[in-house]
Symmetry: C2
Subunit: 231 residues, 2 copies
């Protein structure tokens, strides 16, 4: 029997927003982004365990927000690390702890989605497609086409158009078989780990591309926040 987990990573320090408030706590339609994201995954699968990775320094603030907004979606909080790699690793350890003696990590029916806390608008179809592709292939990520002309800039500042149809923009949830993910995150940290897929690829395992939804934006600037208000 397949069992699914989701790790929501909320590491933002909020610096890019020009704001003191870390971006995951900024509100869209009156609610903190991070609550919208957790609610979205909870409504996708109410019994799926949600692990929230949050910097230790923000946890008291988050718990106060949860009381203030009467936020009742069950989730387990773990502390963030220095990098995304270390934050995901902490989330992964929590899932391995949850599984405990019921399963071994090597069980191929255990699946983990890793999602950005500031992407509240991923569709349920995309979440489901990622889990299904991960169950089949081991690793899956949602991507969308590049809709504008794309140029590649060389070291000397010169640039040329590249065929945009050969490129994809990567979203989350990046979704994996737990066994594969655990093997990947047992590797020593490398600066080449730009996203979760890259950690798995460093093992030599290919990643399946799944069609994402365009509304699934990462909210990191005041512009994104304005866009988010309409979605």
């Amino acid at each position: 029997m397949e069992k699914r987990f989701t790790i929501v990573v909320a590491g933002g320090k909020g610096l890019r927003m020009g704001s003191e408030i870390p971006k995951q706590f900024l509100t869209v339609q009156g609610r903190p982004l991070l609550m919208l994201t957790l609610e979205n995954f909870h409504s996708f699968a109410p019994s799926m365990p949600l692990v929230l990775v949050l910097p230790a320094s923000q946890q008291a603030y988050w718990e106060r927000l949860c009381r203030e907004y009467v936020f009742r979606i069950p989730h387990t909080i773990v502390s963030g690390g220095d990098t995304r790699f270390h934050s995901v690793l902490n989330g992964l350890k929590e899932i391995q702890h949850m599984i405990g003696e019921q399963h071994t990590t090597a069980d191929d029916h255990l699946l983990v989605a890793i999602h950005d806390g500031v992407r509240p608008f991923v569709s349920h179809d995309v979440i489901n497609a990622c889990f299904e592709a991960a169950a089949r292939d081991g690793a899956a990520i949602p991507v969308i086409p590049v809709v504008e002309t794309l140029r590649l800039v060389a070291d000397d500042g010169s640039s040329h158009t590249v065929p945009r149809s050969c490129y994809r923009l990567v979203q989350t949830p990046q979704t994996f078989r737990l066994s594969l993910l655990a093997e990947a995150y047992a590797q020593p940290y490398s600066e080449a780990f730009t996203d979760d897929a890259s950690v798995v690829e460093a093992l030599g395992h290919a990643v399946t591309l799944v069609e994402g939804n365009r509304e699934n934006i990462k909210i990191t600037t005041p512009y994104d926040l304005a866009v988010a208000e309409t979605l």
Copy 2:
């Protein structure tokens, strides 16, 4: 004395919007997109001539809309061609006609911006920066960074992450010295002409990249239209 012109290209058949109405006529905050775009360039420089390239089949509809909305921004309408190349060429001929005997096309102080009719939100700073860079270097286009992880997909479907900091997304107005633009558009048409810059680059002339503004989106889907409502 520098003299600036703008060609606004509105070739859209509206098919991608799932709508009978070509996308340049869809309304944002109650006004057709194309009017917002023309108003933006008019307010940037009220005396700058605006040439609107529109399919012949849409011109009667556009003129009716202008009466209905009491749209009084001066602009000259020319018919669109089969491709963007041919549409821009028609706009360019109109500018050469306007100049008439006052100047020769070879005058280095004549500048032309070519802008998408469905990009109403380009900032005046960006328009100005494009004209200034074109005056200095001959050809300039606004670009923005890629903010998400970017992957390159190979023919066999495999893909790998590429460094997104080496890539830029291209916007308009693509802006040129008229002399250079006329030389470029005297070339025979090629399918490799994906945007206006590519026509100039086919002459071997480099294009200068200018920092664009992120709100300057190309409105081509219902999602974009929803985003545009907030901007």
